[in-house]
Amino acid sequence: MIRLSSHQPPRGATLAGLVLLFVVHTAVRADETPKTPDPIGTLLQRFCFDCHSGDSPEGGLSLQTLITRDSFARDFRGWRKVADQLRSRRMPPRDAAQPAAADRKRLSEWVQQRLQQEVARHAGDPGRIVMRRLTSAEYDYTIRDLTGLRLDVHRGFISDAVGGAGFTNSGGVQFIQDATLQRYLDAARQVADHAVIGSGPLAFHRDPGNTGFELSAITRIQSIYRNHGFRTAAGEGGEPFGLERYPKVFYAAWLFSHRNALGLGAADYSKLATAEGLDPPFLKYIHQLLQQRDLGFPTSEIARVWQQLPAPPVAAGATAQQAFCTQIQERCQQLAERVWHWQNRFGANADAKEEAPVLRADLFRVTRAQRFEMNINWPPKTTTANLILTVESALPDQRPDALVIWKNPRVQFRVADLREQPFHPLREVVTADGVNRLRFGKHHRRGKITKDDFTTLGTQPVHFTIPIPKGAGSARLLVDAELDVDRGADCIIRCSITQREETDQGKSISALLANPDSPAFQAWKEGVLQFARLLPQVSQREAAPSDRDPIPKPFDGTYNNPQRNAFHIRIKYARDDQFLVERMLDAATRHRLDRAWIDLRTSFGYHDAWLRMLSEVFEFSLGDRRMKDLNRQWLEQLPDEARGYLVPLHLEYQADRRALQSAREGHLKDVLQFATRAWRRPLTQNEATRLRSFYESLRTQKRFDHTAAVRSLLTRILVSPAFLYRAERVTADPSSAPLSDWELASRLSYLFWSSLPDDALREDAAGRRLQHPKVLVRHARRMLKDPKATRFATEFFGQWFGFYRFDQYRGVDTSRFPEWSETIQSAMYQEAISLCTHIVRGNRPPAELLFADYTFLNRPLASHYGVPFPKPTNAGPQRASTTLLRRFDDMHRFHRGGLLRLGAVLTVTSAPLRTSPVRRGDWVLRQVLGESVPPPPADAGSIAADDVPVDGLSVRQRLAAHRRDVACVNCHARIDPFGFALENYDSLGRWRDRYRDGKPIETAGKLRDGTSIADATALHSYLRSKQSQFHRTLAAKLLGYALGRPETIGDTALLEQMVTLLADGAGLAELAESIVTSRQFRYHAGTAPASR
């Protein structure tokens, strides 16, 4: 039996070239199409109908049907085959009757001519593009761009089908049914649940619902704090941030003072602050503060040092000036360090180690006597604990003659079984040397002390050592230090005991001692508090107090105290950011911060929690009252102290409610704006009215609150056909008409980004500028360079080459290949996407897809392929190298690089247990060379699922047997050699030299035209020679993807133009240009009957 034409499909490029040859002959006008001359029909009947007619014509091609239907436009694929077969003399078959040479010529010319006429007549026809619905990927990207969130709500969708030119974006195969719509409804509701509807404009947050609202508020607050404020520490393990602001602001203030000398001319606070990454109000504040004359100590010291910073040298060169500025920056750094140092010294009082040093009058407790309670720990196998006792002055430049009496110093050792141990006088546990140094029992002056006490005079440090008794795990040192009344009345001193050993905790303990009644201390305290106010070390506290931060009054902030715990659980947040708000933030940021706080407080029962806790603290009866029930009368009958807290709280509550109320109108406007983005066009007046009245009816008839109504409105917008479908409106012109600017904007954005138009596109659409091809080209170029073009690489190339959603691929048998993991799978997927993205965004020649000698790997994938992966040069985070891919060049050495060597491609074209030369060969033939291969006949038989020879035959031998079957040879002779050339890659894409049973890999094969293909390298050389065929495939695929429909005869000229461009070295940008400026892309077919 001899099979015919469809087994010998035309090669696109050759055919197209052929078609061009005949363009000159097609002078016949469209309306003068000649009727089929009888001789043609007769010829066909005589030489072709035997096989190509009836119900099951050979090759699926019935010439009888073609000639009867007489529509070259619709049947152009069939007629092209006919032309090709006639030209190459493959038909009629050799053993059949042959037409005379003249008849063959006549027949051939006639077919060519008719084809040419149709090509010319339909050139640029938009073709029938069925209205497209968003694919599930497009839906996801669109939601991502609308909300800024990756919500993955599309996961529940029913998967897309493939149609048109082989892509999911073809309207013809997109069906919808109630289950689909139900999922759209659910997804829309989920998206709406992420809306943040508070006191500010409508926004979206990654966590949904009420919890999301709360988290959105705290996230906004924390980000403002972090970006504008500074904080030395935030409780146990807290991280400092923003500490560079002081050196910068001192420097910027100096720049401002000398702006004329420095040639900065008109630089103002704003400009200088911005240049230094500071908030302008902060610079203005600090600059003015540093000029102030009546500052107390120690602020005065800071101002003095800053004022003494030298002026820049006159008429210095640029380099000299730069060097001078660097010096000033260094001095500003030192000055800032002084600020921090003093803050720490003044702030850190006994046992306040883990608090961020914030000095407040109420926290500032200095006494003449202080008990020290210190934990002494030591590393294992330590025999002694070494301690240093120091007395220093808190006033700089002063050496106090202070006498400190250290009473009853005693030590308790702790043992492992936790039995209570006695206290020993320190005198008895220190070394003999220590006894001498501490002078136990000897008063420095004439006073009396016991034999266990000692005194210190002046600021000398004293070292002493405690030998550690056997079995002791840690120790506790207790001592009462007291400043002598006479000697040191005007001193302010810091006493500290420090352990020299490095231990986890309790390294140092210190306290300020002074006579609180002395005028010297009063003046000093005032100065210090002023300093803490004017140059604080922490511009705000954490919104959610960390474990060691104080909680607000009137609650007891002792660690792990029930009130403190209740505060953390019930009230949760405390605002303490006065300095930041007043001195640092500009009005707009302050406004955002205030709104975030309003949202945070109103996101849960914050005020009610306060109310309840206050009622517990002050023991007033609350009954069922909640914040909303309170009134002035009731507040007035409360005890004064409770009222002092409740009244401002109540005012805040009311103000918050009002703020929410007044934001509502804004939300409605935001929702309408959201609709114009989601629907990808301006709303009509009627639509806007309908959306508003839907909201109103929910509020009034369904009694929804504002939030629920806005969420419902958002849901409704996202289930509308205007969102789900890319509708293009029909126009009056019956044949075709230009698309509107908005429709063009969507065509562009869904082509390159699989998503809605961005602001730049929207602007040009609104300005009606997209009708100009130049503007379209500018956008196309911009969009392909954008990071969002990765989506184009994923969607277009992924679907074309078959690695689409490879991360979900489940076709590997993991009991055979336990080394297969999600990590490798994911890396292979990323490798494929990275290669295509690189070609797209870099506008590389598309042939590089096949022939690239580079690829993208991470460590696991490199190790999977056996490619050496360099050790990380710097100690970056471990996971960076395991997940992120980077480019590796010169990869041919390792048999990698290009599409054919991608792990993802090699894996999807394998069977679960073995490679499949047939599938790989088929892939090369179809996807790379663009040839069509008929499906195998039903009785084709199958090959063993495993590569273990079952009946002594390997896969290759079985295929060889298969090819001896005349029914199979036509296709397999075309397919198999390509597949065998890739046999060195196993079913997980790894290079191998032998099969599992130890037999060597045989890769050589011969194509039917006699070309030998020895191995993968030879296959690449062969494909290089067929580059134009790959270009033709690319052009057709890209156009099909752009239009969501299969190729028509009207596309012939455009495709030819694209192939020519590619031959001249064009990249995807140039191809995209020819598509977006084409008539097909810019026009829409009208209502007239199909023109093909």
């Binding site: 149609g163 109630d178 949760k572 509708a727 293009e728 979900q808 990323q830 395991t882």
Partner: protein, 464 residues
């Protein structure tokens, strides 16, 4: 920086689709109607890639999984179980479970290696309870691992309205503890390595999610009416061929509307039907109950409700957060908060006694859940028989932050896949046989999700 022994595989988050749906026959046929099917569609493995699949039997009740977590460990001397001829004997902590000793297995000696290795005594050993992953100690990179309940939710959660229920009692805390976010201590369910599943502590909201809000159906209708009008006004502007597409949309809307209208007498095609079609409890009040025992009871009732109505088959519940500040004053003779006052009791006998009471209280909550499930008859077995219920804490001796032996009880018959009434003591086994992740692999198998490895284990738990 310590390096995790085993990195979780899904560090990269990429969009996921339901692969199984992509391969459904119907979709496959539809694709064939287009010009090309995706090239690997034909390459489906004939059997599960991971060996024998254990899944629900048609006509039988589905299997359910729940994990009830309590924080801060137990009083070590008082948590024990001994085999004896008449059934297991229990130490004081486990006493409340005595009536159910034939319905459960006590698991001794399982642990997560990454917890033991983690220097952060609480938060480095908690959020990985159900994943066995390393807990990142970098403040700016919250990262643990996807937990087994969420793996189940992502694989089999599509069978029910809710993929999983993630419940708790104490709110998610945002403050820092030990330099780490308390988010770690507030979440045992993680849907990705970097993202905890939002925990619901409001009984009313959980109820709405399970039962559905009556207003919701009404709202759906209203929304559908609106978009139906959108479609009708769009129709005349479309080409004839596009109207066909829009008509599919219109028809879909009408179908849903019809379905909403007859929602009351909804029928299922499967052989098995849930024993409850409508909620048998009233909708809880909007506020969180003031009293902790009431709150816990309500949350556990909601798990029972969701299982009975088959709204989900996977649930987790945190009775408290790690480092809980829950005040146990509601228990007779107990004062102070769980963490510092009672767990770290300094071996003060009075406070140790209080700590024991909190342990027993936690166990009693689980016993209550077992009681409820055992009362429900689902044909020839009880709901407890078809469930797998894990009760556990991440620490054994809470005072010492002991993570190398987690207190664990596995209750229920798992639809005949577990023989309860046993003590399974792994303490003398080699380390490789003591991994909690082996238990998770075994549990996931029984839920119909067979993975080759999970967390730090690639073997099933012996003897389960």
């Amino acid at each position: 920086m310590r390096v995790p022994l085993l990195l979780h595989a899904d560090a990269m988050q990429l969009p996921r689709t339901h692969w199984s749906e992509a391969l459904s026959r119907r979709v496959f046929l539809r694709s064939a109607g287009g010009t090309l099917a995706l090239p690997w569609l034909a390459s489906l493995p004939q059997r599960s890639a991971y060996g024998k699949r254990v899944s629900d039997t048609p006509g039988k009740p589905p299997r359910r999984f729940a994990c009830v977590y309590f924080s801060n460990g137990v009083e070590p001397e008082h948590w024990w179980a001994k085999p004896s001829p008449g059934g297991m004997q229990f130490g004081p902590v486990l006493q409340p479970l005595l009536p159910y000793r034939d319905d459960l297995c006590v698991l001794e000696g399982l642990f997560n290696a990454q917890s033991v290795a983690n220097p952060s005594a609480h938060l480095g050993r908690m959020p990985n309870l159900l994943s066995g992953a390393w807990v990142s100690l970098d403040q700016n990179d919250l990262r643990v691992g996807r937990t087994m309940d969420q793996v189940l939710a992502q694989r089999i959660g599509k069978h029910t309205v809710l993929p999983s229920l993630v419940l708790g009692i104490e709110p998610t805390e945002l403050r820092l503890e030990d330099g780490l976010s308390m988010l770690y201590g507030s979440c045992i369910s993680w849907s990705s390595p970097t993202r905890p599943t939002t925990k619901e502590i409001y009984p009313s909201r959980a109820f709405d999610a399970i039962v559905g809000n009556r207003r919701q159906a009404g709202l759906d209708r209203t929304i559908l009416d609106q978009v139906l009008a959108d479609a009708k006004s769009l129709r005349p502007q479309l080409a004839v061929r596009d109207r066909v597409k829009l008509d599919e949309y219109l028809e879909s809307i009408r179908d849903i509307e019809r379905r909403i209208d007859r929602a009351a007498n909804e029928e299922r095609l499967e052989g098995w039907r849930p024993t409850l079609a409508k909620a048998d409890m009233p909708r809880p009040a909007d506020e969180i109950p003031q009293n902790v025992p009431d709150h816990m009871r309500l949350i556990l009732d909601l798990i029972v409700l969701a299982f009975r109505m088959d709204r989900t088959r996977i649930a987790t519940c945190m009775l408290n957060n790690d480092l809980s500040q829950m005040n146990f004053g509601f228990l007779e003779g107990v004062q102070g908060s769980l963490h510092l006052d009672l767990t770290h009791n300094g071996r003060d006998p009075a406070r140790e006694a209080m700590y024991l009471k909190t342990n027993q209280f936690h166990v009693a909550q689980f016993a209550y859940l077992l009681r409820r499930l055992k009362e429900i008859d689902e044909g020839d077995q009880t709901l407890l028989d078809s469930s797998l219920l894990l009760f556990c804490s991440n620490l054994f001796d809470g005072d010492k932050h002991q993570a190398d032996r987690m207190p664990m009880v596995l209750a229920g018959g798992g639809g005949g896949s577990v023989t309860p009434g046993r003590l399974l003591d792994y303490r003398d086994r080699p380390v490789k046989d003591r991994r909690a992740c082996s238990l998770y692999l075994s549990l996931m198998d029984r839920m119909g999700v067979a993975l080759p490895q999970f967390g730090d284990s690639d073997r099933r738990l012996a003897d389960l």
